[in-house]
């Protein structure tokens, strides 16, 4: 059943001119994507060809696109984002209705491009008829009301309490001009500016300035979705950083929950589902790594790196890179038949080769976010390999060695090195996947049919069989696109598991502060983005 109006309709009766104006729906609807474009891409969605134009702020968006199940920790933030959109506003939920306190979606569909396109079509129809309604009600939720506690904390200590005007939200003209000098009886007396500034920290140039506490996340377009940064800005320099990953999992949560662990975990990690599935299987005593696994894992690595590359291109304002990386990412994630990939490989290589030759790019990235080898305790993946450390779990795998695998290592440790390591790894991963595929000799589509691989190897887990009585904890390590993930797993009879997981992003998260503090905002964001950390796999 279709409602008469979108849930975020404007409050007016559609009459006359308005009725005809309502029929105008632009070819591309401006959309704000939750939790982020990176997740949408990783799910294989082509948002733009579905008729959406991703925008940077919900202010400009008409559609709130929610990709996948939104974790509960993001509900408040999603509520705020929705509340900040201008009406008429519509919600599209893909793959799951768990969208918390938000009003029910105007269109929902199963995950996938076809579902997205159908949902957008429905929203368009809905917008044509129901952009205006006389029965709109203000959207209210607990998350939107001012919290007294945090308010008081944020008040600047130096300001006299009497001077703080009551900030009644909603009155539009609050804080507009009021006459300090001419304001009759409001004589505040002389106030010392020296006292106001003497406690302030001084910058490198010796000027004591105030800092603005600015949240960057969890839905910031230039950062990984779900990463909640709070930056204290001193001008446009980052003076202080607070990092949180609300979407990460707690240690205690890992072992609880019902259902197939491998399935749940692969759903939890949008950027590397196959790697985590394989990790659980390996820890649960699954079959040894075969060539099919190698092909799937390497394709996933390439896709994950390309996804990052698209995000990085977006952050750098390098539209060409964003577009091409996103397209190649999609090709690798969805329905890429390896025969076709083999034919297309030269084109991908051409794109990859062009990136480092971009004018100004090397200059933009050199010396940004430098990490020395001795700061990288416990960090693996491209971040470590870009700082000259040969850390790669694939080196321990005979399968990889037989395929002639060699890790990519660069010594510089800056954002440029991380970029070139990942570019190289994309190339090598595709080559490895193709080599594994050829060696495997299997016919037909394989990259797309990863579920086939997975289904085949699911069998040995048999969580509910109860055949094994209290097996010893098993450990497994796997090289995910972001580095080594290690899992110790102890399954008991009823299928619940006791799991100890180490993920690469957990080790990388503390580096964020070090990279950002003291940097210009643009550099800080580039440095953070170049880490390619996935907040979803952080274990706290």
């Amino acid at each position: 059943m279709i409602r008469a109006a979108v849930v975020g309709a404007r409050n007016a009766a559609p009459r006359g001119l308005l009725r005809s104006l309502a029929l105008v729906v632009p070819p591309q609807l401006d959309a704000f994507v939750l939790p982020g474009m990176d997740v949408a891409r990783a799910r294989g969605l082509d948002v733009e060809s579905a008729g959406l134009r991703p925008v940077a702020t919900p202010r400009h968006a008409a559609v709130l696109l929610i990709v996948g199940e939104l974790p509960e920790s993001l509900w408040d933030a999603a509520t705020v984002v929705y509340a900040q959109m201008a009406r008429p506003r519509a919600i599209v939920a893909l793959g799951g209705d768990g969208i918390g306190p938000l009003p029910g979606p105007d269109a929902s569909a199963a995950m996938g491009q076809a579902g997205l396109e159908g949902a957008i079509e429905r929203v368009r129809r809905l917008l044509r008829t129901g952009s205006w309604s006389q029965e709109t009600e203000p959207f209210e939720a607990a998350a939107l009301l001012p919290k007294r506690r945090t308010r008081r904390k944020k008040k600047k200590p130096a300001e006299p309490p009497a001077a703080e005007r009551p900030s009644n939200d909603g009155t539009a003209n609050d804080g507009a001009m009021h006459h300090g000098a001419m304001g009759g009886g409001a004589d505040m007396g002389f106030m010392s500016m020296v006292r106001l500034t003497q406690h302030l920290p001084k910058g490198a140039d010796g000027l004591p300035m105030e800092r603005v506490q600015t949240p960057f996340g969890p839905f910031f377009p230039g950062l990984p979705s779900g990463l909640a940064l709070t930056l204290w800005l001193d001008g446009d320099t980052v003076a202080q950083v607070e990092v949180a990953s609300p979407v990460g999992s707690r240690k205690s949560d890992l072992s609880t929950g019902s259902g197939d662990l491998a399935e749940r975990w692969s759903r939890r990690h949008p950027f590397a589902p196959a790697a985590y599935r394989r990790l659980v299987e390996a820890a649960a005593g699954g079959p040894p790594l075969d060539l099919g696994h190698v092909a799937a894992l390497e394709l996933e690595r390439a896709a994950s790196h390309l996804n990052w590359l698209a995000d990085f291109g977006h952050l750098l304002g390098y539209a060409w890179l964003e577009r091409h990386a996103a397209a190649w990412q999609r090709r690798l994630r969805t329905g890429c038949d390896l025969d076709r990939l083999a034919a297309l490989e030269p084109k991908l290589l051409a794109v990859l080769q062009r990136v480092p030759r971009t004018p100004l790019l090397a200059r933009r990235l050199t010396g940004v976010g430098v990490l020395d080898a001795d700061e990288l305790e416990g960090v693996g993946g491209p971040v470590a390999r870009a700082a000259g450390l040969v850390r790669d779990a694939r080196l321990d795998e005979p399968r990889y060695r037989s395929l002639g695998f060699e890790p990519v290592v660069r010594p510089e440790g800056d954002a440029l090195a991380r970029l070139s390591v990942r570019l190289d790894e994309i190339r090598r991963s595709v080559t490895l996947a193709l080599a594994a595929y050829r060696a495997h000799g299997a016919a037909g589509a394989m990259g797309a049919a990863r579920p086939e691989v997975e289904r085949r190897s699911e069998r040995p887990v048999e969580p509910g069989s109860g055949a094994v009585v209290d097996p010893p904890a098993r450990a497994a390590r796997i090289e995910t696109p972001r580095g080594v993930a290690a899992l110790q797993l102890r399954t008991n009879g009823d299928g619940a598991a006791e799991a100890v997981l180490e993920t690469p992003s957990t080790a990388v998260l503390p580096l964020v502060e070090k990279l950002a503090v003291g940097q210009e905002l643009a550099d800080a964001l580039v440095a953070i983005s170049s880490l390619d950390l996935s907040p979803w796999e952080v274990v706290q």
């Binding site: 404007r10 203000p138 009301l145 900030s167 939200d169 600015t214 949240p215 320099t237 210009e520």
Partner: protein, 120 residues
């Protein structure tokens, strides 16, 4: 048209543009008022409700450039009339302006050498 009429036309264009904008606002206003809702009027900060004011003393990092710009910019006041008569006056004009610009460039070089031309 006399110059004064030209200026009047310019002023008229400015007023007309403002009028056009006002007309757009009026049209948009006729479509109904904004629904007042909590948090809608708080500037977007990536999903977090940040209600603290940001109007504080802002650390402009390029004030070295700004200070030199204030002085250096004035050179243009002399260069425009000079450019118009340059051909007429000839060599003298080139030398005059050459000396003038050399003097100014000296100031720029001094600022450069004292690290004024960088992010502070």
């Amino acid at each position: 048209m006399s110059p004064l009429q030209q200026y009047a036309l310019l002023f008229g264009m400015a007023v007309a543009t403002v009028g056009f904008v006002a007309m757009l606002y009026l049209i948009a206003r006729s479509f109904g008022r904004t629904v007042a809702e909590p948090a809608k009027d708080v500037p977007f900060t990536a999903g977090t409700l940040s209600r603290s004011p940001v109007w504080v003393r802002y650390h402009v990092r390029y004030y070295g450039f700004a200070l030199l710009f204030l002085a250096f910019d004035m050179e243009m006041a002399y260069m425009y009339p000079w450019a118009v008569v340059y051909r007429e006056v000839g060599m003298v004009a080139l030398l005059d302006m050459g000396v003038f610009l050399a003097i100014l460039f000296l100031g720029l070089v001094y600022g450069w050498s004292q690290a004024a031309l960088r992010r502070q």
